[in-house]
């Protein structure tokens, strides 16, 4: 998701709920904990627990449970947020636990959105002060309880690694021992936070993720692992073309399958209800549906690309402009031009979309991984005709998302509610197949860039024009209200506000329309803008006789020192001396996204006529690195996910409009043998933390492409680099 957007429909963030009125909320939860699995979903606090605020519970057994307001989708929210609390509480890391907070925007809003939601790489950054304050308040209450108990001044009490102590008298107590007394004390209005110089956990190495063990032993409980008494499994048949609708259903063969209970037509397709997953999936294969394709997308990818390319060439809605780019190109000694085509991409998270819903006609409970629970909550209640207070959402561990579970239209929540309504009171698990996921749309938008640059006789860039065409993610969603001047920044972010001095420049966009639904996909617009800008720039620099690193540094704006620093650092790490001459070549690229700065160098060789990436050096400035190992993991993951897409991923539509890819045989993500060695350097910084979930991705594509061009002489301008 984009970090800037603030939904117009959302309430403004409020601090009112911060330290008040939380006991009732937490005690009101009623999910029975399962003994065998480690669930991330909320549980009721144990009797005698100390609940200083909506984020923290201290149990008599000394465990400190943090209610994490962001969904854990792999990015480390269930480690980073508890770490902030532990730092200010002076807790021991081993006593910390994490649970997903329930859906409640008053208590658990994302300060960057105003509603509860995860995206735009904002999870840690927007929580940084909130969670520290929560931890500091809890510490103050424990200290106050100890002072009363021991009859000593609070100022003489110290806390370290979960032990509250008074040196002069030798008194010591654990958090759990003080919990009951602390719970009776007043909640402090204002608390002092630590001086960063005194941090012992923030910035520390050797922090084990709180979910590392349960996710290595099969104990972590995901949505797909939820089973309720009498639960039916529901599989879906969706339209084979985007925009098609159900004309008629023949369910006779499906209903003849043992275990299939019912077939129902829903707004989104046809639902097969069964006693177990195997029966549901067989029913899915057996049901015969006739489709009304009158409003469907029937163009194939080639035709769409042709249309988008023509539109890019004439794109005129100006997103950014300075100087006179046209005059600069007209007066240039030489003009270079290139067009780039980026395909639709599927998120293809390992856990297909799923949700469990149980309702009795008057109240509903949901288990799922929803990135924007506030709007999903409203959709579920709305479809079911229930008040929001009658709907409970349990956020589960989620097998990846990469943006896929942050749908502004809440199509999955609506489908889940419709499954329940059509089935009647009871429990249902809606489980998409990989085919539903791959062919279900909500793709990274297919995008065409056209770039032109003018050079003077000395090789300096005098003019820069970038025109692009793609569908808007915001259009048709609640975010549309934020499109100013008809512009959707997620369409071109990363092509504007470049770190380079380009006095005569223009960025223009053409908005395309198609029934193919599009969505934010890890790093959103930066997935294509960084590639187009940084590979084109590389060619232009070479034409002008410049080195890729020094050429960029020479053009760097004076007000972009952080961009400069990561580029200089990565060049140093890689021992940069140009693209090289042998069997292995080097490419560099950089991008600022989601508040963080990343530069990468890729080492590439030729393997059977296609690029094989052997090493990647990565320098990142993400402000203060709260958990350095999580930062490194996110850089590695972003590099792997980005490399996967540029090497081998594409969703294509056949002529007529059907999606050609069905499963992981036709849509081919990166596998272990293709993963490069990665070295990450985190630049020291006292700036506030910024995102890491997405920023590792944008530079890898252009870094690899630049190295590949040095090696093969081929500039790859239509992705992926090695089509299936």
């Amino acid at each position: 998701m984009h970090p800037i957007v603030k939904p117009a429909f959302a309430p403004r963030p409020t601090r009112r709920g911060f330290l008040a009125g939380t006991g009732g909320l937490i005690l009101g939860l009623h999910l029975a904990p399962q003994a065998r699995a480690e669930s991330s979903a909320p549980t009721a606090p144990t009797p005698g627990a100390f609940v200083p605020n909506a984020f923290i519970r201290v149990a008599p057994d000394d465990t400190v449970t943090v209610l994490v307001k962001h969904i854990e989708i792999g990015q480390g929210a269930n480690t980073g947020l508890p770490l902030l609390v532990a730092e200010e509480m002076d807790a021991d890391w081993s006593q910390m636990r994490a649970e997903q907070a329930p859906s409640n925007p008053q208590l658990y809003a994302n300060a960057a959105f105003g509603i509860q939601g995860t995206g735009g790489s904002t999870g840690l950054s927007n929580s940084y002060m909130t969670m520290r304050r929560a931890g500091a308040a809890a510490r103050a209450m424990l200290v106050s309880a100890a002072a009363d108990l021991w009859g000593v001044p609070a100022a003489e009490i110290t806390v370290s690694k979960g032990v509250v102590a008074h040196g002069p008298t030798g008194n010591e107590a654990s958090f759990g021992a003080l919990a009951e007394a602390a719970a009776k004390g007043p909640v402090p209005e204002d608390v002092a936070l630590k001086d960063p110089a005194d941090f012992t956990l923030i910035g520390a190495e050797g922090i084990t993720r709180l979910d590392a063990r349960s996710k290595s032993t099969g104990q972590a409980e995901f949505t797909i692992d939820v089973y309720r008494d009498g639960m039916q499994v529901v599989a879906m048949v969706h339209p084979p073309k985007f925009g098609a609708t159900v004309a008629s259903v023949d369910d006779s063969e499906a209903l003849a399958i043992p275990g299939v209970r019912a077939v129902r037509q829903l707004p989104s397709g046809v639902a097969i209800y069964a006693d177990d997953t195997f029966a549901a999936f067989r029913g899915r294969d057996a049901v015969v549906v006739e489709w009304d394709e009158s409003a469907a997308e029937t163009r194939g990818t080639d035709e769409i690309v042709e249309t988008f390319t023509a539109a890019a060439r004439t794109a005129s809605l100006v997103a950014e402009e300075a100087g006179d780019a046209d005059a600069a190109l007209a007066g240039a000694e030489r003009v270079i031009e290139a067009e780039y085509v980026f395909p639709y991409l599927a998120h293809a998270a390992m856990e297909p979309l799923d949700g469990v819903i149980e309702w009795d006609g008057s109240a509903a409970e949901i288990w799922s991984g929803m990135q924007i629970p506030t709007t999903s909550h409203a959709t579920l209640a709305g479809v079911m005709g229930l008040g929001q207070e009658a709907v409970t959402i349990n956020t589960m561990y989620t097998g990846g998302s990469f943006g896929r579970r942050a749908t502004p239209d809440n199509h999955f929540a609506a489908e889940l509610a419709n499954v329940a309504m059509a089935g009647g009171p009871g429990a249902y698990k809606l489980l998409w197949t990989r085919e539903n996921d791959m062919q279900g749309g909500y793709y990274r938008p297919l995008t065409v860039h056209r770039l032109r640059a003018g050079l003077d006789g000395a090789g300096n860039i005098t003019g820069w024009v970038n025109q692009l065409a793609n569908q808007s993610i915001m259009r048709g969603s609640p975010f549309e209200a934020m499109m100013q001047g008809g512009l959707d920044p997620t369409s071109y972010e990363g092509a504007n506000d470049l770190p380079y001095e380009l006095p005569n420049r223009r960025l223009a966009w053409a908005e395309m329309r198609s029934p193919v639904p599009v969505l934010w996909w890890r790093a959103v617009g930066h997935t294509h803008t960084a590639y187009a800008v940084e590979t084109f720039l590389d060619e232009v620099l070479e034409t002008g006789g410049r080195d890729p690193v020094q050429g960029r540094l020479d053009m760097m704006r004076a007000d972009r020192p952080r961009d400069r620093a990561v580029l200089e650092r990565v060049a140093e790490m890689a021992g940069w001396s140009g693209p090289g001459t042998g069997d292995r070549r080097y490419g560099v690229a950089m991008a600022r996204s989601f508040g963080s700065y990343v530069a990468q160098v890729a080492e590439v060789e030729d393997r059977d006529g296609a690029p094989h990436v052997t090493r990647v050096w990565c320098a990142v400035d993400c402000g203060l690195a709260v958990t350095p190992d999580v930062v490194r993991a996110q850089m590695e993951g972003g590099i792997g996910y980005g490399l996967s897409s540029i090497l081998g991923e594409a969703v294509t539509l056949e002529p007529g409009g059907r999606v050609a890819q069905v499963n992981f045989d036709g849509y081919t993500p990166l596998r272990l043998p293709e993963m490069p060695r990665i070295e990450v350097s985190i630049l020291p910084s006292a700036e506030p933390p910024s995102g890491v979930g997405e920023p590792g991705l944008p530079p890898i594509g252009p870094a690899v492409a630049n190295a590949w061009r040095a090696l093969s002489g081929q500039a790859v301008r239509r992705l992926p680099m090695r089509p299936a």
Partner: protein, 153 residues
């Protein structure tokens, strides 16, 4: 048709359609949910279990062929290799979303049982069938080497 097999050291009888994939028998009927569904066509490896001592994709293994077979899932995985793998996985912070990791751990354990000191190429070959969209691959490699070293020590 009733099929009797051993799952995690316990004898179980499954009275299900013999075409039922082992994956869904384990999950829906035995409630062993550590084994995950990712693709249904043996392309992603999330459903990997040990079948008669070898890593196998349970999503394409019909239970009709498993009379008398021995199955170990992530819940029942034991022995020095499994312990070393899971310890290394935790220490190195391999998992991100974690969904594929049961399959990764089973594949890695299977590799170390057969090849205690795998080469880089052997690791690549053994793990190529297990997709991870979080791309934790670099840490998977590192954890397998660390587990291998700890077994040798």
């Amino acid at each position: 048709m009733a099929i009797t097999l051993t799952v995690n050291d316990e004898e179980v009888t499954l009275d299900l359609d013999p075409d039922t994939p082992l994956l869904w028998a384990l999950r829906d009927h035995l409630r062993l949910t550590g084994t995950k569904f990712g693709c249904g066509i043996a392309q992603c490896g999330a459903c990997t279990v040990m079948l008669d001592g070898f890593a196998q994709r349970s999503c394409v293994t019909p239970i009709g062929a498993l009379e008398g077979a021995t199955v170990q899932t992530i819940e029942g995985l034991d022995g020095p290799e499994a312990e070393a793998v899971q310890a290394a996985w935790t220490e190195i912070n391999v998992p991100q979303c974690g969904y594929c990791q049961s399959g990764q751990v089973v594949s890695a354990t299977s590799l170390l049982r057969e090849v205690p000191k795998p080469s880089d190429q052997e690791i690549d070959d053994a793990m190529a069938g297990n997709l991870c969209r979080c791309a934790t691959y670099a840490r998977i490699r590192k954890a397998i080497r660390q587990a291998s070293d700890s077994l040798e020590a």
